[in-house]
């Protein structure tokens, strides 16, 4: 990449009213959106790694039930005691790891990375604002997140271990399990929700109030639109889960019966509760959040993907307006599809029809977005750098994930597929080779803005190809397993239902299906190795990477590239004026093949 020579000179930024701050106020208690973004990013990457490790242990247990975990077995026993006696993952421990893997990945890794890190770092820059609207609220949001994370993490080490009832925490099971893990989970969730709410208020207010002069709504980069809608999803969908969390906490701590029905029996005995509660109510409140939450997982990724596509095809996004309207529709509809996760809870046909219909309707805007992004590639002279490779893989991977969602959206096919590995494969295709790839792309793409250096292209490509292959090896077999009837969340991976155990059982799992577990295990190990180049590349490049050579190494049009590198406190030396839309690439007759948004005509 050649250093750009665009027309806008950077005035040197004077640090007049921002005198040098000490270490603590500069890196730990900072109110600067960029520092907070990086804090979010770093913490979230740690949790991503941790969640991944939990999954590796679980995959071992599924593939080789009852055998000690190699290498880390003794460590598990030292840390967790009886739960991992002799280095063997007990059923309780498996349940804990499963529940915490889901929770950590969704609430502590992906959302903080996609929304907290990328959103924080980029949204104010892209709209030409000096910071978030409420910098101190922003800092509080990060602190609540850390606090929630710490509580979740420490719950592994309390007697009885962490929560065991799945990331969905369905009662009565979640309440009936006698250990305190669930209490910690609920307390952690209330903090994480508070963090997200503060973040959401801040993002929305920032986009509404702090757009630079000339930055009209239809000149916002698509990334900002995606984050804006994400903010609304978090703002309005999370409170019902917060309410539900408080109610379940009451059930757990004050022995109320919000979710405990009359006549509840635990371990064969009538539970000593007042009863009269409604277990399904939890599911409604949970999914009222958790369906919008899946869009929280995907929308920021779509935003990142659009930015990188426009930049590397060197042409405007195809159908910017359709993208914007599609993402708004998507956000709106995502609030009224939630009960498609509950078809098997005995819901009537009328209400099921309603939710099937809305589920099918919501796939239309998803398809519009994906189509626009695909068409954007058409006729471009594409630069295949690492970010672009990840983005190019995102498109079909998200496609697979989305299309496999359709059979889940109809109750008659979902009755067969619900709670099987098919569902696991469906959403992992969207989140893992989908969202996580987009996040990797974003890291490679914006790294030079934050550090002034490029990440290694060679190791980036190694990372990409290895990840792509192993991701597919992991998740592709799960579709087959699920369709064969293998249920999720079984500590023995379904061995009890295999034809090896019960030879003539109808619908028993064949040795072939069971054997896939072993392939998946080694693919997961492979995926772990595939991340090594990334981790080294990342840390090495911070100080030793190739200098970016300019503030705008990718020759991009959006405002974040029109600042000094890294952007100083306050971002812009003078208020930027915006004269054009976000994707003016290859404008005929223009001297360069990109025209920054703040370049006057």
């Amino acid at each position: 990449m050649q250093a750009s020579t665009h027309a806008i000179p950077h005035p040197h930024v004077h640090e007049e009213h921002h005198e040098e701050a000490g270490f603590w106020s500069k890196y730990v208690f900072s109110t600067d959106h960029k520092v907070i973004g990086i804090q979010y990013g770093f913490t979230a990457l740690c949790f991503l790694f941790f969640g991944f490790c939990l999954m590796l242990v679980m995959r071992w247990q599924i593939a080789h039930p009852g055998q000690p975990v190699p290498l880390v077995g003794p460590l598990l026993e030292t840390l967790l005691g009886n739960m991992a006696a002799k280095g063997i993952v007990s059923n309780d421990l498996y349940n804990s790891f499963g529940a915490m893997h889901g929770t950590i990945m969704v609430f502590l890794a992906i959302v903080p990375l996609a929304f907290g890190a990328f959103g924080n770092y980029l949204v104010p820059l892209q709209i030409g604002a000096p910071d978030m609207a409420f910098p101190r609220v922003n800092m509080a949001s990060y602190q609540f997140y850390v606090l929630g994370g710490v509580i979740m993490f420490f719950s592994f080490f309390i007697p009885g271990g962490a929560a065991q009832a799945g990331w969905t925490s369905y009662p009565p099971l979640a309440v009936a399990i006698p250990t305190d893990g669930q209490t910690f989970w609920l307390a952690g969730m209330v903090l994480l929700i508070t963090s997200s709410l503060l973040g959401a208020v801040n993002f929305i207010a920032t986009v509404i109030q702090l757009r630079a002069p000339g930055m009209t709504w239809m000149r916002l980069p698509f990334f900002v639109w995606a984050q804006f809608v994400t903010g609304f999803l978090l703002l309005l969908a999370f409170p019902p889960l917060e309410a539900a969390g408080v109610l379940q906490l009451m059930d757990k701590v004050a022995h109320t019966s919000f979710f405990l029905p009359t006549g509840l029996a635990v371990g064969g005995n009538l539970a000593n509760v007042s009863g009269g509660g409604n277990p399904l109510l939890w599911q409604h409140l949970f999914w009222f959040l958790a369906h919008p939450e899946v869009y929280v997982l995907i929308l920021p990724a779509m935003g990142i993907v659009s930015e990188i596509i426009a930049n590397n095809t060197r042409k405007p996004l195809w159908g910017y307006k359709s993208l914007v309207y599609a993402v708004l529709t998507l956000g709106f509809l995502s609030f009224i599809v939630w009960a498609h996760h509950m078809y098997l809870t005995g819901m009537g046909t009328k209400i099921a029809t309603f939710f099937q219909t809305t589920t099918m309707i919501i796939s239309i805007p998803s398809v519009i977005i994906l189509s626009c992004l695909f068409i954007s590639l058409w006729g471009g002279s594409i630069r295949f750098n690492t970010p672009m490779l990840f983005v190019m893989a995102f498109l079909p991977m998200f496609g697979i994930g989305g299309l496999t969602g359709l059979p889940l959206g109809f109750s008659y096919s979902d009755i067969h597929l619900h709670d099987t590995y098919y569902v696991i494969a469906h959403f992992h295709y969207i989140v893992a080779p989908g969202t996580i790839f987009a996040l990797f792309a974003g890291i490679y793409f914006w790294f030079p803005k934050a550090t002034g250096r490029m990440m290694s292209e060679f190791w980036g490509q190694v990372h990409f190809w290895a990840s792509l292959i192993f991701m597919n090896l992991i998740f592709q077999p799960m579709f087959a397993q699920g369709m064969a009837g293998m249920l999720r969340r079984m500590a023995d991976g379904g061995a009890n239902y295999s034809t090896a155990k019960v030879p003539d059982a109808i619908g028993g799992l064949s040795p072939h299906m069971m054997g896939l577990h072993t392939y998946i295990l080694w693919a997961a190990v492979g995926l772990a190795f595939a991340q090594i180049p990334f981790i080294f590349n990342f840390f090495w490049s911070i100080h030793h990477g190739k200098p970016a050579g300019s503030d705008n190494p990718w020759n991009s049009t959006t405002l974040e590239w029109q600042t000094p590198t890294p952007p100083p406190h306050g971002n812009f030396a003078t208020v930027p004026h915006v004269y054009r839309g976000p994707y003016e690439y290859s404008v005929p007759g223009h001297a360069t093949d990109f025209t920054p948004q703040n370049q006057p005509d």
């Binding site: 609207a133 207010a205 109030q209 409170p239 408080v246």
Partner: protein
């Protein structure tokens, strides 16, 4: 570059930042209480015939507390209006009233909670149920001021018009007691939702009072240096306060009267 529109309104939206922020926050609060009200409805609709309590709460006390909260809302508006009219002394007076009223509200609420925690339902081994307020409890007996019922159902509808019952001191030997439980949140789903809704509401009252207390005390120094900004802060905290009042306007009939 400094953050714009912290005091003056942005021309195209006509709003300053904190105004947008507080309304977004209140929107999320609407969803929070919305979920809790849905819970209330579902629990109530799902209760077996005759087992949803009526008349368990003291209506005069609840009415007084409603009036207290409404009054605190008008003093909040007046405090803000005083600043708009440049009368700092009146502002101080009105918000002092707001704070006193907030304390009164919380005080009355804790009295009501205390009353519930002292109220016991005691199932005897012979199947009778004694119900009343605890007077004394020793190692071998329990004294309550209340009455006996044969059928638990009689305890549920206590609205005026029902058969009046005498309250007398009842002494029950510990040996006869099968189960003794006070009217805490664990007692019935009605009390569960009552404690949760009012508890969460009370936390909002306390939170709001802390903010208003800060702005009334140390925070009011800002009036001298940046009066417009200070007035905005009072407006924002007031919006929150009115919302808390608004929630109570629904809680009161739903929990006390219906």
């Amino acid at each position: 570059m400094d953050i714009p529109y912290t005091v003056e309104a942005r021309p195209d939206t006509g709003l300053y930042n904190a105004k947008v922020g507080i309304w977004l926050f209140l929107a999320s609060e609407v969803m929070l209480f919305g979920a809790l009200f849905s819970t209330y409805i579902l629990l109530r609709v799902g209760a077996p015939e005759g087992f949803w309590p009526h008349g368990w709460l003291n209506i005069p006390v609840g009415t007084v507390n409603t009036l207290v909260l409404i009054t605190s809302s008008i003093t909040t508006v007046m405090a803000w209006a005083s600043l708009k009219m440049n009368q700092f002394g009146r502002f101080k007076f009105f918000h002092a009233c707001t704070l006193c009223l907030a304390l009164t509200f919380v005080g009355i609420k804790s009295y009501e909670y205390h009353d519930k925690f002292m109220h016991y339902e005691i199932t005897l081994k012979d199947g009778r149920i004694a119900d009343g307020h605890l007077v004394k409890r020793t190692a071998d007996q329990v004294v309550i001021s209340g009455h006996y019922v044969e059928d638990r159902k009689e305890l549920f509808d206590l609205r005026a018009g029902g058969p009046p019952h005498e309250h007398t001191e009842i002494t029950i030997p510990q040996a006869q007691i099968k189960k003794m439980e006070n009217y805490g949140p664990w007692h019935t789903t009605y009390l569960a939702i009552y404690f949760t809704l009012t508890g969460l509401h009370a936390l909002h009252v306390i939170g709001g009072a802390i903010v208003i207390g800060f702005l009334w005390g140390p925070g009011s120094k800002l009036w001298k240096t940046d009066p417009d900004r200070f007035t905005n802060r009072i407006e924002i905290s007031g919006l929150f306060w009115h919302f808390v009042d608004l929630v109570w306007i629904f809680l009161f009939p739903v929990l006390y009267l219906l």
